[in-house]
């Protein structure tokens, strides 16, 4: 039986949601026969993007919906496309210089590598949501 080629997940902006989200993405990729290393890289990239919006995103208003993030995965012709949509103040991670891993190690920093991780692993596109009402990150990653 053909397994679904897409997965939609909606979560609260709370890092308690990260573990279950990773589990769902991993399960989806396994069902689509993705190799373990590729699956781990997709999971890591999405996890880092979510952790960033959870930790640093500033919701645009107090409406409960503005505290949610939608993750949409679609596999098409052996490429996974992941769309991560939040309702936070505009922030384009592709427009900033990612952290330098050499400096991270040399200085013994305790964080700040999330954007570096997903920018290194994925083909990343940033879009502003219609009316400036949040951010959309699009990751693309080919199956090995």
């Amino acid at each position: 039986m053909e397994t679904p080629s897409s997965l939609l997940i909606e979560i609260e902006r709370d890092n308690s949601a990260l573990s279950a989200t990773r589990g769902k993405i991993r399960q989806f990729l396994e069902s689509r026969k993705w190799a373990e290393q590729d699956a781990n890289r997709v999971v890591l990239a999405v996890d880092e993007a979510l952790a960033n919006t959870i930790e640093h995103g500033i919701p645009l208003n107090s409406h409960p919906e503005s505290n949610r993030v939608r993750i949409n995965l679609q596999e098409d012709r052996n490429v996974i496309r992941v769309e991560i949509m939040d309702s936070c103040q505009p922030f384009d991670p592709t427009a900033i210089e990612p952290a330098d891993p050499e400096e991270f190690i040399e200085e013994g920093r305790d964080g700040g590598m999330g954007i570096f991780c997903f920018m290194s692993l994925m083909d990343v596109e940033y879009k502003l949501r219609e009316g400036g009402l949040g951010n959309i990150l699009v990751f693309r990653y080919p199956k090995s």
Binding site: S16, D47, P101, E107, C117
Partner: protein
Amino acid sequence: MAQPILKISESKQGNVLVLALSGELDAKTAPDLRTHLDNSIQAGAIRVVLDCKSLTYVASAGIGTLNAVQKALVQKSGQMVLCHVAKDIKDTMDLMYFTKKVKVFPGLEEALQAF
């Protein structure tokens, strides 16, 4: 809502502190490990082995924690080494250059001999 779980089991092998990690080290659980390690360092531990046999995931927040702890240990003339690191976790550590800073051993015996 499922909670990520990180279990930390502590033992001593001579003057080496061995922490066995089980579960996931992510943005949610990394602060727990940081607190545990900071307390251990304050109590005098400067030689640490992290046994990652049952660690199933690490995010950049977890590696950041280990990176900062390694810095603190080196400043005290100590170090932290790792063993039983799964392939996927090593892949993430390699991405962030962390394996350039910390020694990774196949097993606990070899890790203990690093001191």
